[in-house]
């Protein structure tokens, strides 16, 4: 077991006042709170902060913890001294103190159950809390259906009453036609119940991974489709990608940029299937050699065309 330097975790001096400790904790907690933070390891950091604060905010626990300071040897790992705990009385605060998540073995060996605030009542039966998580899926998953793995950090109570944080991986079936904003409820996959209460549920909020060229709105899918000026002007049949595979698309003659072509029912295959919209974008061939420059000049001379005719600036 490793010794934990709670002062370092909160980035405060060992001589810090209780007010300074509170300030440091609040500041870091705002930064790493899992509901707010974008930091990748926020969950873990926040847990460490909570544990450090749990000890240092309580003058009794802090004094006891300070006494360990000089007595441990980093090479041998940490073991509580044999007389640990004698002469101290740890009052567990009765109300919730942010410790949903399990504290480290280090904490448990020093302060055990009595030290943790917000412990569970005995002889009490209640259904476990529901949990929430986000699951990222690809648009293509929604067209075909898929299986995705999701890793979750879950607090778990061991048979001897300790709370540990356990990472578990679930394989979840992503049904065909799933859309962003929908949720998948997995019954019994939330927090364990207390006493004989049954486990809570796990809600997975569906979010699509951003796609290189598709954009999704509800069940409709949009694709900005580049076409050559002559394809738009003369009409053409071109190969275009769709999430369900490439298709041949007929572009009508005299199509303008921004024109929307709707492929009915080729959006997300939901109960009411969405549509696929192809939004035409006219791509300009570069005039980067003599031949193409010549060609543009000929167009300039031979085609009477003022793109700003409607702006009354001529």
């Amino acid at each position: 077991m490793d010794y934990k330097d709670y002062y370092k975790t909160l980035n405060v001096d060992r001589k810090a006042t209780q007010d300074e400790i509170k300030r440091a904790y609040r500041k870091l907690a705002r930064k790493y709170h899992p509901d707010v933070s974008k930091e990748t390891d926020a969950e873990l950091k926040f847990k460490d902060l909570g544990e450090a604060y749990e000890v240092l905010k309580d003058p009794e626990k802090r004094v006891a913890y300070d006494q360990l300071g000089s007595n441990w040897n980093a090479q041998q790992g940490f073991k509580p001294p044999p007389d640990w705990g004698s002469g101290f009385e740890f009052h567990g605060a009765p109300r919730g103190g942010g410790s949903q998540q399990g504290f480290s073995d280090f904490f448990e060996s020093l302060f055990g159950q009595a030290g943790r605030s917000g412990g569970s009542g005995r002889g009490f039966h209640m259904q476990g809390e529901d949990h929430h998580a986000k699951i990222l899926v690809d648009l293509e998953d929604s067209y075909r259906g898929a299986t995705r793995s999701i890793s979750l950090q879950m607090p778990e109570v061991t048979p001897d009453g300790h709370v540990v944080s356990r990472s578990r991986t679930l394989k979840v079936s992503i049904p065909k036609g799933i859309r962003q904003g929908q949720q998948i409820r997995l019954s019994g996959q939330g927090a364990k119940g207390q006493g004989s209460g049954k486990a809570g549920d796990l809600y997975l909020e569906i979010e699509f991974n951003p796609h290189r060229y598709y954009r999704v709105e509800g069940a409709d899918v949009y694709l900005e489709l580049p076409v050559a000026p002559w394809e738009a002007a003369l009409g053409a049949t071109v190969k275009v990608p769709t999430p369900s595979g490439a298709i041949d698309l007929k572009i009508p003659a005299n199509s303008r940029a921004g024109k929307k072509l709707r492929l009915k029912g080729r959006g997300i295959p939901a109960k009411t299937p969405g549509d696929l919209y192809l939004v035409l974008q006219i791509a300009l061939p570069p005039a980067d050699d003599e031949k193409s420059r010549e060609f543009y000049k000929r167009m300039q001379e031979e085609i009477k065309f003022d793109p700003r005719a409607s702006m009354e600036v001529a």
Partner: protein, 100 residues
């Protein structure tokens, strides 16, 4: 509910539409909070249920997560309800900006 494929357990859940609604009792159960907590959140304008009276209140599925976020922020950061509500709205806005 679960299916089996290649010996591995694949969980099959129930798909809930965006417009899925839950009652006050279900919301309290899911978040392990008292009715009082929810009515306070409604008074504060953090939750906006449909239905005329408490008995007929129905909450959107996203309320489940919102209630929890508010409770966690209050508990962990020492902010009051109005502060948690403000943070929640700002989080919503960040999410919206990130989507567009």
């Amino acid at each position: 509910m679960s299916g089996e494929r290649n010996g591995e357990r694949i969980l099959v859940g129930e798909v809930l539409e965006e417009g899925y609604l839950v009652s006050l009792a279900e919301l309290c159960r899911s978040c392990t909070v008292e009715t009082q907590t929810i009515t306070t959140l409604v008074t504060e304008g953090i939750l906006d249920p449909t239905g005329e009276d408490v008995e007929h209140w129905r909450f959107t599925i996203s309320s489940l997560k919102r209630v929890k976020t508010v409770i966690h922020l209050q508990r962990d950061l020492g902010v009051n309800l109005a502060g948690a509500a403000l943070a929640l709205e700002l989080l919503d806005r960040i999410a919206e900006l990130e989507r567009s």
